[in-house]
Subunit: 196 residues, 2 copies
Amino acid sequence: MPKIVDHEARRRHIAEAVHRVIHDKGMESVSLREVAAEAGMSMGAVQYYVTTKDQMLLLALERIGIWIGERVAAVAAHQSTPLDVLRTTVLELLPLDEERSYLNRIGLAFQASSVMSENQAAAMRMGYSHLLSFLAEQIRAAQTAGQLAAHLDAGKEASILYAFAQGIVNATLVGHYTPKEVAALLDYHLARLRAG
Amino acid sequence: MPKIVDHEARRRHIAEAVHRVIHDKGMESVSLREVAAEAGMSMGAVQYYVTTKDQMLLLALERIGIWIGERVAAVAAHQSTPLDVLRTTVLELLPLDEERSYLNRIGLAFQASSVMSENQAAAMRMGYSHLLSFLAEQIRAAQTAGQLAAHLDAGKEASILYAFAQGIVNATLVGHYTPKEVAALLDYHLARLRAG
DNA sequence: GCTTTTACCATGCACTCGCATGAGAAAGTG
DNA sequence: CACTTTCTCATGCGAGTGCATGGTAAAAGC
């Protein structure tokens, strides 16, 4: 077996090129040629790892899911209390700086795209399940620790919290809210969940 | 001035064709030809009313805004209390049946699209302003009527409520939530805002 | 009845698209 | 060395893209 190549690395490289194209020129500009150019490889090379455009987009979407998972795990690890984990996690998912806007632009594009593709829809559902159960778990932990009110329905609160975060994304990217206002909205909402 | 034609009607006709194309085949499938075919007119006729594709999309986005405004006004008119208006308005914006899913699919596509186009972003901001001030107004009225707790920040509550509605859209369209669950989430959230 | 204005249409152009194909370079094994 | 396998590339194909152009039919004003 010659010319041993790390397929995983190549796929990641392609996925990240897709991300950049989506961010810079929009989902409509994603094409095999454009992505190949962005990835610095020939079109044939891209086709070797990804046979169709749909597959390429799915790869990029799955990579986003992995990336989000990693980011959340990373920031959550530095917090001391469940409520801190909760707040920091949601903040990490909001477009409050350039890097998080980057992620959210791509995420928003896939929200629209996933409605038209069952494969992408399935990937989305998996991402929702993971994130929502993580958030619900943190809410329950915060309740046990006496940080959040005991009467809250952790599952519903997680859904509402995450829906809020997702729903504020476009309005923020489009300039209706400033990052400060978004953070204030989050804290306002979290405040009412507090125990006492 | 010969062959007098209702331009407004023609533009609306084109906009609605764009909506159908977005809904049926996705934003990527929107082209002058595709829209012309959907509208049952020649490509040249479409070009007469809309000179560029961007203009066509902007027209379709503005029409969505108008449509939403009309729908909200219509359902709100049949309610007796501010809280009923609030709840019914938000329900009207959620993808709980086929017609509202239709609207939300298109809206979601434009959320992604508006991030890449300043014209569309401006149209979005205007839509947000109108809807959010309407919601905030209803919250204040409900507070005055003693239906909602007086200590609530009406502006922030409106933002959170609408963000929740927007943020639940993709998850619902993709099948993560059932319409019943979404309605239950809304009622769960509204319940905690009640006076008492 | 001629001109002007409005509305519409068919077609052409340069370009891009997704995807398929076949050739060939690189790297390991016998 | 030949040989196989893995990887990469250039190119071609048919179709579709946004947009521009030139022409034409119809109705109103003079």
